[in-house]
Symmetry: C2
């Protein structure tokens, strides 16, 4: 089958073997996939991953031990835990020490005609949610996961007007929170504004301090800005991972008793519910789409600075 | 009166004017004071402070508009808030934007025969708590404040076997928490062990990871160690402020969804209660004591690497 495989570099191949569906797993025919910045970092050597890239997708189940799933349109949690440890049994397995992660850790990803995930990871996509919306489920779940770390009444500043920052701003707004999206590009902030979100150019912030700030700039210097923009005893939610650590003055964290909270994956079911209820429309974030056969071009397009979401269609 | 006054350098003077006790304030005759690393940093220019140094003390009220306080032995919260803002009215004023801070921000400190604090900051010291115990109230309150940020069931690793790290380990143990004190000096860890705390040399830690880690090393590299020693979804409580920011790889914060929480001052009443109930005995931390007239030598002694608590007696 067609697949974008990461060896030393990511290459589209036409003869990648179809994945084998083991007990407890489901084989999914990919419809649409999305390129994430993590895919770009993996291509540069992050995590030392080798295999089929991609972890954002919607598709249809074509094989599953539980026949109820066959034929259903689905998205899937990307973390495949052992199912036995405390984290898997008591929580969501997102921190299972031996987990594989779709297209990221020891499990072939979704930039392929087919992919395999544990059946328990599947979330059905209702008819009212289009493929182009559902393909945002994974980053939308991650965006909504921010809600777990901030008080309901908090005025939240979202730093960063890239695809993740905008999606977080739209998601929190859709969840009824008071949000201001902050960035450097009026044109991108307009997408958040189009979804009803208050926006502000970073240069035009005055003494504004927020109860919570989400750091989604993708920049090594974003944390320092976030720490300046949060109230005493406030929370900075860290979404950005950067390859090269920068010196950060953490004295304000102690003096102002700030909390810095790392936030990664969320619950796919919450994302699908938000999409189903129309609380957020991520489709204005789509910048371009490519066919799977052109996935190398899709990666190149996504790598261009400032590009919003690049989609990959199976056909 | 005698006082240790910070100008360009800290100098003992014998003719410092006695402090004026305004409405809502109390004038306290100092008995014993303690030297904190913050005093050493202030002497090096931190915060740009000028005035009488020192913020850890126990003494006796000699003047107060509320006559009930006169003659009572007291300690005092070091943060003097405006009394009007939300933080002062709803919380403890520790984050009041216009607060003064005893011996740190715009308010003469305790390395003097007398000092003045707001009456509402006073906490009475019961007879069973000696001056040598009560003088630890401020750092002990800060140590107990860590309890506000960690789950009751957490196994807590305390990084750092300096006076703050040891006091935190003793305080958390005294509060019934499961604690391991971690450091580089067997002799210092023995003080924690003497109080019943489990201890471990940092070099002898294997794969141990704690539910929470308190970073109290005073070192710029302590945070990186703390981040390696905490479980996924765990908490690092940051007590150390360092003058020179170091590069820190914060990717684990996102990947493992860690929380970094800054923690500063605590409730003096809690500290006095713990001392009164005998839950913690800080006196083994006393390294040496000097008379107020020798306070410059006290500062020099405290500056020597690895020194535990230096006390300053009024006479």
């Amino acid at each position: 089958m067609l697949a974008l495989v990461l060896g030393d570099t990511p290459r589209v191949v036409s003869d990648h073997p179809e994945p084998v569906c083991r007990e407890g797993e489901a084989r999914v025919q990919m419809h649409v996939a999305g390129v994430c910045d993590t895919d770009l970092q993996l291509a540069l050597g992050y995590m030392g991953y080798r295999g089929v890239l991609g972890h954002e997708a919607v598709g249809r189940v074509i094989e599953c031990g539980d026949s109820d799933w066959v034929g259903r349109r689905v998205v899937a949690d990307i973390n495949a835990g052992c199912g036995q440890c405390g984290d898997c049994l008591q929580r969501d397995g997102h921190h299972c020490a031996t987990r594989t992660v779709l297209g990221i850790v020891a499990r072939d990803g979704v930039f392929a005609e087919q992919f395999v995930v544990p059946t328990r990871n599947l979330v059905a996509v209702p008819d009212e949610v289009s493929d182009d919306c559902a393909v945002f489920s994974e980053p939308l779940a991650a965006a909504l996961h921010v809600l777990d770390d901030i008080p309901v009444s908090a005025h939240v500043g979202v730093l960063g007007d890239g695809k993740l920052g905008l999606l977080i701003a739209l998601a929190l707004h859709g969840a009824g929170r008071k949000v201001t999206a902050i960035g450097h590009h009026a044109q991108k902030l307009a997408i958040a504004a189009g979804g009803g979100v208050a926006t502000c150019l970073e240069d035009e912030l005055r003494d504004d301090r927020f109860d919570a700030v989400v750091e989604a700039t993708g920049s090594a210097t974003g944390l320092a800005v976030a720490l300046q923009r949060v109230q005493p005893r406030g929370t900075v939610v860290l979404k950005t991972t950067v390859a090269k650590p920068e010196p950060v003055d953490l004295a304000p964290v102690v003096i102002h008793e700030l909390r810095i909270v790392g936030s990664r994956c969320g619950a796919m079911a919450s994302a699908i519910e938000h999409l189903s209820r129309g609380r957020v429309d991520p489709t204005p974030l789509i910048a371009a789409r490519y066919k799977l056969a052109d996935a190398e071009r899709a990666m190149a397009a996504a790598s261009a600075r400032g590009t919003l979401k690049i989609l990959v269609d199976a056909h």
